[in-house]
C-alpha cells in the first residue's frame, strides 16, 4: 500500500469531488486529487498515486524512474497495479448514470 504508482493526468473531472482521470500503465482510472489542490494540477502532469489518491506531483523523468523501479519489484508491483485497476473510485454522476 505504500508503493507510489506514477500516473499521468488525462482529464480533470468537473464537480466538487476533486477527481481526475489518470493513465497508469496504459489504462485509465479515476483518482482523487484533492490533496494536491494547492499544486494546481493540470492535464499532462505526472503524480504519484497512493491508495487512490495523488500524493505528490512529480516530473516526467521521476515518473519514468519510479515506474522502472516498480517493474523490477515483480509481484509486489503486479499486485498493486491489479488492485489499482480493480478500484472503483468514480464520480458521483457516473455512479448514478
Amino acid at each position: 500500500m505504500c508503493l507510489g504508482i506514477p500516473g499521468q493526468i488525462v482529464e480533470l473531472l468537473p464537480g466538487d469531488e476533486q477527481l481526475a482521470r489518470v493513465e497508469v500503465a496504459g489504462v485509465r482510472r479515476t483518482i482523487n486529487v484533492g490533496l494536491l489542490e494547492d499544486e494546481r494540477i493540470q492535464v499532462g502532469d505526472w503524480v504519484l498515486i497512493h491508495v487512490g489518491f495523488a500524493m505528490s506531483k512529480i516530473d516526467e523523468e521521476e515518473a519514468a524512474m519510479a515506474l522502472s523501479s516498480l517493474r523490477m519489484m515483480g509481484q509486489g508491483y503486479d499486485d498493486e497495479l491489479e488492485a489499482l485497476l480493480a478500484s472503483r473510485v468514480e464520480a458521483r454522476e457516473r455512479l448514478e448514470g
Binding site: 500500500m1 491508495v51 487512490g52 505528490s56 516530473d59 521521476e62 509486489g76 488492485a83
Partner: protein
C-alpha cells in the same frame, strides 16, 4: 563492482561508492533506514554489498503492516465476524497473523471480508449496500492517513451512516524517538522516509540532530538515492555537521503538504498511547478519530475486544524492527516463518525486512561470498 552494474547509472554509482569509501575510511558506521521502501531497494539491489565493510545499514520500523500488534488483528477479526458487517482491508493486511489466525481465515469461516485498494472503494461499497455496515481497516503512516481523512470527510458530507473506520494509523516520529532512547542500539544517523515526508515535510525530524546529535537525510527510493544519502550522512559526520538534509528534494518539500496535514488534524487526534509490534506501547504515536467523527468510528460503534496478545515466543520481529538483529538471525527465519506461512509481520509485507531479505537477500549474500565484497 558486480552489483553496481545493475544500477540505472553505473558510472554515477561508482563515483558515489568511491566517495563513500573515502569518507568512511576504516571507521565503522551504523545507519538506520526508517522506511520499508528503502529496505526493499537495499535488498533488491544488493546495496549492502557495494558499501565498505564498516558501513552497516539496519532496518527500521517504517513498514505499516509490520508494526500492527497481534491484538489489533484480533480486534479486526472480531469486527469482521460481527453480524451484518462487511469488513474491508488493504490486501497487505489479509495474511497478518493475530492470536486467532488472520483475516483470510476469518473469511474462509464465513466472515464477509473484502479486499479494497482505496478507502474510497470501501465508502462506495457502503453507498451501494445501505443494508450492511461497512468497516474499513485503516493502517499506515502519514502517507496513507490523509486518504482516510479525505474519505471520512466525504462520508460526513454525503451523510453515509453505514460506513466506519477502524483506525490503526500511526505517526513516524515517536518510533524514531523510541529507537533513539533504546539502549540496545548505537546509531550514527538515519535515512529519513521518502513518502511520509512528502506529507509531514522535513521539519519534524529536527529533534534528531538537536536532541540526540544524529544526522538525518531524507532519501528517495532509487539505488542512487540511497547511496547519495549515505554519502551525505558521512559528509556531515566528517565535516562536523549534524542536521536534517533532504536528498529527495525532487519530491519532498521541507514544509510537506500543508493541505494533507490540515485534513489529518481536522479528522484525527493522537491517542495517549498505542501498541507497536515489538516496540511495545509508545505514547502519542497512534491516531484516533476526533469526537466530531464518532459516528464513523468503528471503535465507538462496535464492541471491540481490545485484548492485548503477546507475540509468539519464537518470533523476533521486535528485534528486527529495532534493528537489533538482522532478519536471517531470527530463529524461525526461512524455516517456520516464510512469506507463504508467516509467523511474524516482517515476513508478510513486501516492504517487511524479512520478506525483502527472503526474496532477494540470500541471493546477494551468497554472491557476495563467492565474489568477495565488491566495495571498490
Amino acid at each position: 563492482m558486480k552489483y553496481v552494474d545493475e544500477y540505472r547509472d553505473p558510472a554515477a554509482a561508482r563515483v558515489l561508492v568511491r566517495r563513500i569509501n573515502e569518507l568512511a575510511g576504516d571507521d565503522s558506521f551504523k545507519f538506520m533506514e526508517v522506511c520499508g521502501g528503502h529496505t526493499h531497494t537495499i535488498y533488491r539491489h544488493g546495496i549492502e554489498h557495494v558499501l565498505p565493510p564498516g558501513v552497516e545499514l539496519v532496518h527500521g520500523p517504517g513498514c505499516p503492516v509490520c508494526v500492527i500488534p497481534m491484538g489489533r488483528v484480533d480486534d479486526a477479526i472480531a469486527l469482521a465476524e460481527t453480524p451484518g458487517v462487511i469488513f474491508t482491508s488493504f490486501g497487505d493486511m489479509m495474511r497478518v497473523p493475530g492470536g486467532h489466525g488472520n483475516l483470510l481465515e476469518a473469511k474462509a469461516r464465513g466472515a464477509d471480508v473484502r479486499f479494497v485498494y482505496s478507502p474510497l472503494d470501501a465508502l462506495r461499497l457502503a453507498v451501494e449496500r445501505p443494508d450492511r455496515q461497512v468497516v474499513f481497516f485503516a493502517v499506515g503512516f502519514e502517507t496513507t492517513a490523509p486518504s482516510t481523512a479525505v474519505t471520512l470527510l466525504k462520508a460526513r458530507t454525503d451523510n453515509v451512516a453505514n460506513f466506519s473506520v477502524f483506525s490503526n494509523h500511526v505517526t513516524i516520529v515517536p518510533p524514531i524517538k523510541a529507537i533513539l532512547e533504546s539502549p540496545d542500539l548505537r546509531l550514527d544517523g538515519f535515512l529519513g522516509p521518502g513518502h511520509v515526508s512528502t506529507v509531514i515535510g522535513n521539519h519534524p525530524y529536527r529533534f534528531v540532530p538537536k536532541q540526540y546529535g544524529k544526522p538525518l537525510v531524507t532519501a528517495g527510493f532509487e539505488p542512487l538515492d540511497i547511496l547519495q544519502a549515505i554519502m551525505m550522512l558521512l559528509s556531515q559526520i566528517r565535516d562536523g555537521r549534524c542536521e536534517v538534509e533532504n536528498q529527495y528534494g525532487r519530491v519532498v518539500r521541507d514544509e510537506g503538504n500543508p493541505r494533507a496535514l490540515a485534513m489529518l488534524a481536522e479528522v484525527f487526534e493522537l491517542r495517549p498511547h498505542f501498541e507497536w509490534r515489538g516496540l511495545g506501547f509508545i505514547s502519542q504515536s497512534g491516531l484516533k478519530l476526533r469526537a466530531e467523527f464518532a459516528p464513523w468510528d468503528a471503535e465507538r460503534r462496535f464492541a471491540v475486544p481490545g485484548v492485548r496478545v503477546a507475540d509468539p515466543k519464537a518470533c523476533q520481529c521486535g528485534e528486527v524492527l529495532k534493528g537489533v538483529i538482522r532478519p536471517w538471525e531470527c530463529k524461525v527465519f526461512g524455516t517456520a516463518c516464510t512469506p507463504e506461512t508467516p509467523i511474524g509481520t516482517c515476513m508478510v509485507s513486501s516492504e517487511g525486512a524479512c520478506a525483502a531479505y527472503y526474496n532477494f537477500g540470500r541471493l546477494h549474500r551468497e554472491a557476495a561470498v563467492t565474489f568477495g565484497r565488491a566495495s571498490a
